[in-house]
């Protein structure tokens, strides 16, 4: 859910950005991080823990804890809490350690 009215801050509506979440088209706004756009859509689970496959969301939102890692445009372990959302991004839930792709 997005804040509509706030006593101090003024959230102007910015440009809509379309992106793919697990193969489905969704949207966020310019200024969003990937994690904030997903959270606004009610999506809290961003990855699964490596061993026990427990659902995980973000925790620190400053790029420090890796709890928000997702696969973005094919690259795993992207910290979605500090990665700006861009039009056309492919975002996927990460379910393992991820594979390093040297050709990228």
């Amino acid at each position: 859910m997005r804040i509509k009215e706030h006593p101090i801050l003024d959230f102007k509506e910015t440009k809509k950005l379309h992106f793919m979440y697990n193969g489905k088209q969704v949207y966020g706004f310019e200024g969003d991080t990937i994690a904030s756009a997903l959270h606004a859509l009610g999506i809290k689970t961003l990855r699964h823990s490596i061993e026990l496959k427990r659902p995980r969301g973000f925790y620190c939102a400053i790029g420090n804890c890796a709890s928000c890692n997702m696969i973005v445009d094919g690259t795993p372990n992207v910290r979605t809490c500090i990665t700006p959302l861009k039009e056309g991004m492919q975002v996927e839930t990460q379910k393992d350690k991820g594979v390093y792709n040297e050709t990228r």
């Binding site: 959270h39 809290k44 659902p55 969301g57 809490c81 500090i82």
Partner: protein
Amino acid sequence: MKHVDLLIIGGGPSGLAAAKMAAESGVSSLIIERDTKVGGQLVKQTHMFFGSEKQYAKTRGINIAEILINDCKEHDDKISYMTETTVVGLYPDYVVTVMDRNHKYSKIKANTILVATGASEKVLAFENNDLPGIYGAGAVQTLMNVHGVLPGQDVVMVGSGNIGLIVSYQLMQAGVNVKRVIEAASVIGGYKVHASKLKRLGVEITTNMTVKSAQGNGALESIVVQKLDDDWQFIPGTEEEISVDALCISVGLSPLSNLLSMVGCEMKYVSALGGNVPVIDHSHETTVPNIFVAGDVCGVEEASSAIVEGYYVGLIIGNRLGKTHPHYERLIQDFTQQLDNLRSGPFGEKTRSGLAQLRGEQHA
């Protein structure tokens, strides 16, 4: 390999302040910041700050960030930035490795390095503490105040220090129902003004209570809280279930000092300063020559002291590089005095004792 005079790791208040003073002294610097923009923790702080006029009291944190960023803009010829870039390694030959926004790695060499990485929020151990919906209080503050997104509808805050109290108030401002603030200690940790503001809004602050477990199918749905005795032991039969869709954890910060351990700086665990901190001398230089520190990374305090430490270290680094600020002596004295003032009084006691412990001094 790129080579710079002064490399600043972290563009928070302390890093920005240091860049400004170094620039005034004639030194060029490069600020590396992993977030999308500089400003550090200040970019989400919508409340007015305490302290004295000199450290921008009665100004909102977000506006203090603007002031510091604009000050740096006046030295555009001397200060450059790399944002969305994380420093991942710091080595004894004064080389850092960085990962940029395209996940590409590169190396930068520097004559002097300032580590101004700030601090991170601690986690709390309880059953299912990893459920989505359980967040650091500062993280929720970022989500709300920077991105305009609500963490949930019903929230419980764990911890009644200033951050817990301030973020609770800001949750209410954004229209979220703060069901309760719980505190394990027997007294409220933060300033009375912040607690009173919350109480006026009808938010209950319960002391001697902590969270025992969290429940939810895929995401947080409820928590169980329980009373503690004065020895922090659970009191049987006092469990209470509260339904929430978000839980904020605000149980303190610890310095982000791992790069300093990596390069071999002597470290010391000082609980009053938040955890593992580098051993430093009065010029804020670590035991590795030409590696300096400022702000929360060398002891969790406040933005006001982080800014003044930044100015102070910026002057010292300038001098070290042979570029002495025209008002060096006067400014060093002024900033030393300001830090002493900030750390005086009952709320400065923790910092004073922590610094004394770090320096191996006897504390009265």
